[in-house]
């Protein structure tokens, strides 16, 4: 049994990470999940949150992601995030997230019915994420 897996994190604009990991914690839409080697194949959608990848040497790298999806296999985990940045990224990354939050708030204000719930959840997740980054 392999005890590492290939972890890739790509955003539309670039590939942020590609490394061997022992476990990856993913903020899935219905709650955080941790993928380890030999995980059953699954595709999940993401919510805004922190993604934690543990490298072979035990170092944990944190990334902040917004929506997207993750594809998990027995030997790999690929995360395709709409927006992703290294978690302790201050300054521009933070500003970008705050921009998202503002936009999301606006959308939540305009939305109605079921989509309002979705939009409000997105706002709440973003707020959470920003707090977690501090």
């Amino acid at each position: 049994m392999a005890n590492t897996m290939q972890f890739d994190l790509v955003s539309p604009e670039k590939r942020l990470a590609s490394l061997e990991a022992t476990q990856v914690q993913i903020p899935a839409a219905e709650g955080d999940m941790t993928a380890m080697p030999d995980h059953a194949p699954v595709i999940v959608t993401l919510r805004p949150g922190l993604l934690k990848a543990t490298g072979v040497d035990g170092t944990v790298t944190q990334y902040a992601v917004t929506g997207g999806f993750a594809e998990i296999n027995a030997d790999s985990a690929s995360v395709l995030a709409e927006f992703a940045t290294v978690g302790d990224g201050q300054g521009t990354a933070r500003a970008a997230l705050e921009g998202f939050l503002e936009e999301a708030r606006k959308r939540a204000g305009e939305a109605q019915g079921e989509s309002k719930d979705v939009a409000e959840k997105f706002v709440a997740d973003l707020v959470h994420l920003l707090e977690a980054m501090e």
Partner: protein, 292 residues
């Protein structure tokens, strides 16, 4: 016969033109590199996205409850054409080829009795289409302030399209852009993005593991489809940016070479007329001396 002074002036002006085109060529080369890098780094995301979506679409698409973005609205009466061109000229046939492809499609659709709507991205295409199809324009996206195409630009366009689609403004959406092949060759590409089309997975390719989907196949697909549209638009924008700089680079290379040839020709003419003037003066002096 132009005077020596005239020739001199013309040579000077062609020389300064050559300087400008040379500089533009070098700027385009630098920008091309960046645009190519950007297109390159966007590829893994787009490829993965496409792979996952086509897998999903194959399993969900056939059923009755398929999302409208795949199944379409059930009619193909109203077509939305998104024509992507550049903001600036001096890039050879770059814009004309896209516009030509768009014109062809517009005429074809019109002949078939369909309704056509046009959304333009980039000023140049708008200008060229304005004369004949002004009444078909629905919107225009101005990219002149955008220095580097970001995913945000693409998702803004995609969002606008989705809103229109949801409002029932059109049934089919097609994008027009130039696919970057090499510096001297760009291929005008016409791609239908709504309803989404996928290349059939290759026969014999690994069927892939059977994935579980969370929350559900439909849920994941509903979440992915809009992203798929943004991704396709983003890819198109990046390809277009690279093509534009490539086209500009080769156009300016040609211009520089032409200017060089012209300078050579003018210089020869200049030397000949100078020689003629000298010969004339000599004849005058000699015949003057002989007359004495």
């Amino acid at each position: 016969m132009p005077s020596l002074k005239d020739l001199k002036n013309r040579i000077d002006s062609v020389k300064s033109t050559r300087k400008i085109t040379k500089a533009m060529q070098m700027v385009a080369a630098a920008k091309l590199r960046r645009a190519q890098d950007a297109a390159e780094s966007a590829r893994p995301y787009a490829e993965r996205m496409e792979a996952v979506m086509s897998g999903l679409a194959a399993s969900v698409g056939g059923s009755d409850g398929a999302p409208r973005l795949i199944a379409g609205t059930g009619s193909d009466q109203v077509h939305m054409l998104v024509v992507m061109t550049s903001e600036r000229g001096l890039c050879g046939g770059f814009n004309s080829t896209i516009v030509k492809a768009a014109r062809l499609k517009i005429e074809e659709l019109k002949a078939a009795g369909k309704t056509v709507k046009i959304l333009t991205v980039g000023k140049k295409g708008r200008e060229q289409l304005k004369r004949d199809y002004r009444s078909l324009f629905v919107d225009h996206v101005d990219m002149s302030e955008v220095k580097k195409v970001g995913y945000g630009n693409a998702s803004a366009i995609a969002k606008d399209l989705m809103d229109r689609f949801d409002a029932g403004e059109f049934d089919v959406c097609t994008i027009f852009y130039n696919k970057f092949i090499s510096v001297i060759s760009q291929e005008p590409t016409v791609k239908q993005i709504i309803p989404a089309t996928f290349e059939a997975p290759e026969e014999g390719a690994e069927a892939g593991a059977l994935y579980d989907y969370e929350p559900s196949e439909e849920g994941v697909l509903a979440d992915l489809l809009p992203r798929g549209v943004s991704t396709q638009i983003f890819t198109a924008l990046l390809e277009n940016a690279a093509s534009e700089e490539g086209a500009r680079m080769s156009a300016m290379d040609n211009a520089t070479r032409n200017a060089g040839e012209m300078i050579d020709k003018l210089t020869i003419e200049f030397n000949r007329s100078r020689q003629a003037v000298i010969t004339n003066e000599l004849i005058e002096i000699i015949s003057g001396a002989e007359a004495l």
